[in-house]
């Protein structure tokens, strides 16, 4: 099924899927891992282990009773050598558990396939698995799967758009484990009594479309939809619009329009988890960028340091000047190679000098390209101006908080103005003003 419907705006980013034919290589167990207690959007976990404790693969090492959270499991067997705040992917310090591995990878004895009946128990089991949205945002999966009272979910959308340049993590999942994906979809459909499933894939991945059409051919409830390749097709609201024609109003969730969106890797994980009970301890990560020797796809244990991952992949051909966790449009620039791979890390990119140098911002000529590019119908140039002037009232008037930070505006700006950066600043200003009670 080819889809004509298309979200407004966006940008024609290069695809650069150099690793699409790189079969996933399992990375060896590193000497140590550092597992942060925050690997999701929400409240950080409390560490359940202390220095000197012995841990096994899949053992819970962090949890909290707060709703918006997901437990953290050990990805290795070994000895806890430190529990302290450590440098985190975003540049802040987060309590982390450092484990010296013993290389045995002994399984925790509690790991067994979960038993559940009914949707509540299923959702409970999903929380225990530690699953977060594997597309990159890291929103706890059990929350996504439990819509608020009175909200009827009729459609499950599987996000395999993968619109960010370089990343092929979702693509490889379909090519390598399509039956797992299918299985996971059926499990979620059954548990939550969902009638329709739409699998959205961009048209620059014909092999993946063919593969999913093949495995889904037996079911008349599951449709594969070919999406136009345009960034940010994989953003939740854009994907929902492109596949169903439904618009998620500002500040609302997909469940408000009867939809749940899950990443293709997430459903595939659910299938594995229901079969084996193994929680989320590993992730496929695309390694690429102008500074690496071998662009590749690696299966990495969560908590492995970036330097270990890059070295296993074949090292650097030139010393990198910019290292990203995630894609070039929304990824987070890293301060250090000592930070760890997280549950929702889908790519590690290292760039040589020529790709790392920041363009100088010029004067806005009001060409309106940012306005045309914004998929949320915002006016980035006015958000930029008002954030630089700290004009809270105007920032609110121009709906600064609706910005999804996709980066399309900055990407197309001919004056190379750092629009997303100042919009983020604007959001922070609005938050601060609200905290001061100046609503």
């Amino acid at each position: 099924m080819l889809l004509k419907r298309m979200f407004k705006g966006g940008a024609a980013v290069p695809h650069l899927k150099r690793t699409e034919n790189c079969e996933t290589i399992k990375m060896t167990v590193p000497e140590k891992v550092i597992i942060p207690m925050l690997q999701h959007i929400g409240t950080p976990c409390e560490p359940y282990v202390k220095k000197g404790d012995e841990v096994k693969v899949g053992q819970v090492i962090g949890n909290t009773d707060k709703f918006v959270s997901a437990p953290v499991h050990s990805s290795v067997s070994g000895i806890v050598t430190d529990v302290s705040p450590k440098l985190y992917a975003g540049g802040v310090y987060i309590t982390s558990v450092e484990i010296k591995t013993d290389g045995m990878q002994e399984l925790d004895k509690n790991i067994k396939p979960p038993k559940y009946s009914g949707s509540d128990e299923f959702i409970g089991a999903i929380r225990k698995s530690g699953l977060v949205g594997l597309g990159g945002a890291g929103f706890p999966a059990h929350i996504k799967l439990s819509p608020p009272q009175g909200k009827k979910i009729d459609t499950l959308i599987i996000n395999a758009a993968e619109c960010e340049p370089y990343i092929t993590s979702d693509y490889r999942e379909i090519i390598e484990n399509s039956w797992n994906v299918m299985d996971g979809i059926n499990i979620v459909m059954e548990a939550l009594k969902i009638k329709n499933v739409i699998i959205g894939i961009e048209d620059n991945k014909p092999e993946a479309i063919k593969e999913m059409e093949h495995v889904a051919s037996k079911s008349d409830k599951i449709n594969v939809v070919e999406l136009k390749s345009r960034y940010p097709q994989g953003a939740e609201k854009m994907l929902i619009y492109a596949t169903t024609g439904r618009k998620v109003p500002p500040g609302k969730l997909p469940s408000d329009v009867g939809v749940i969106v899950m990443n293709v890797n997430s459903v595939s994980f659910i299938s594995e988890y229901i079969k084996t009970g193994m929680p989320l301890i590993k992730k496929r990560v695309t390694i690429d960028g102008s500074a690496v020797n071998n662009p590749s796809n690696l299966e990495v244990l969560i908590g492995t340091s970036l330097i270990d991952v890059f070295e296993f992949s074949g090292g650097f051909k030139t010393s990198p000047l910019k290292v990203l966790m995630g894609g070039p449009m929304m990824g987070i620039a890293q301060f250090s190679l000592q930070t760890s791979v997280l549950k929702h890390t889908n790519a590690l990119l290292a760039f040589a000098e020529k790709d790392a140098t920041l363009p100088n911002a010029g004067s806005c000529i009001r060409c309106g390209r940012c306005v045309k590019a914004c998929p949320m119908n915002l006016l980035p140039l006015y958000l930029n101006n008002n954030s630089l002037k700290e004009n809270i009232e105007e920032l609110r008037k121009y709906h600064v908080n609706d910005c999804i930070e996709c980066g399309s505006c900055s990407y197309v700006c001919p004056a190379k103005i750092h629009l997303v950066q100042s919009i983020r600043l604007g959001k922070a200003q609005v938050r601060q003003a609200a905290a001061k009670g100046g609503k």
């Binding site: 540049g91 910019k322 620039a333 890293q334 250090s336 309106g368 700006c413």
Partner: protein
Amino acid sequence: MENNFVVSSSPHIRDNASTRRIMLDVIIALLPATAFGIYSFGYRAALVILVTILSCVFSEYLSRKVLKKESTITDLSAVVTGLLLALNLPSTIPLWMAAVGGVVAIVIVKQLFGGLGQNFMNPALIARVFLLNAFVKHMTTFVNPGVDTVSGATPLYGIKEYVKGNKANLAGYWDLFIGNIPGCIGEISVAALLIGAAYLLIRGVIGFEIPITYIGSVALLTWFLGGETLFAGDWLYHILSGGLMIGAFFMATDYTTSPVTFKGRVIMGIGCGVLTAVIRLYTGYPEGVSFAILLMNSSFPLQKVN
């Protein structure tokens, strides 16, 4: 920190568009009209063009220097202003006047308001209107294209007299389209301007919103009100003559002085169209494109239209 990584906000890649490339595209798009102007009016037209461009670039350089700001002449925006100004001048204008126009455009209208992207009215148009008011005679003396430099009345002057009942020579549609008429250096040939406009539209430098609504509303209003009776106006004559084509495609679409949203651009186009038609039909001036665009420019901050 053991590494000296560049840490910046996403996105980490940019496309290869640049302000300079946009300005270069505008210059390229103006080349057919420029060439036709020089072909029609001879070396004198080339001199006027050269003088205004030099005057604009030099003014830009000097004012940035005096204001102790980074030089911006390499972004080519001053060249665009100079070229646009020249194309809106008669080829017979004394060169020093053309130079003064360049200074007014860049120093007063652009740099004193903060430079590129900050001026609220179109620099080239303000300069043209300034010259029109300061040196009426020189700004309204036009010669026929070709070797004989006999001064002639512009087609719009002709139709104004014609509608009043006076005898006047009306140009043919074909002459208007090709540009075989007296007028400013760059405004005479609709054909040459349309070639440039097509280039800008294809390159995505301008959108269709302002030109279509502008020309469309002039056509409608002049057809409706421009004749001796209602619905008898010669709308085709109106849209093919005067500065409408250069105004609609190259001046009203000026980024800095036009809105950024679809709705705003439609309002801009219709507003310019209505004002142009009103000035042409009901005032003492034969032509109203410059005033119409400038009035719309200056009204946008008041209307709070984005």
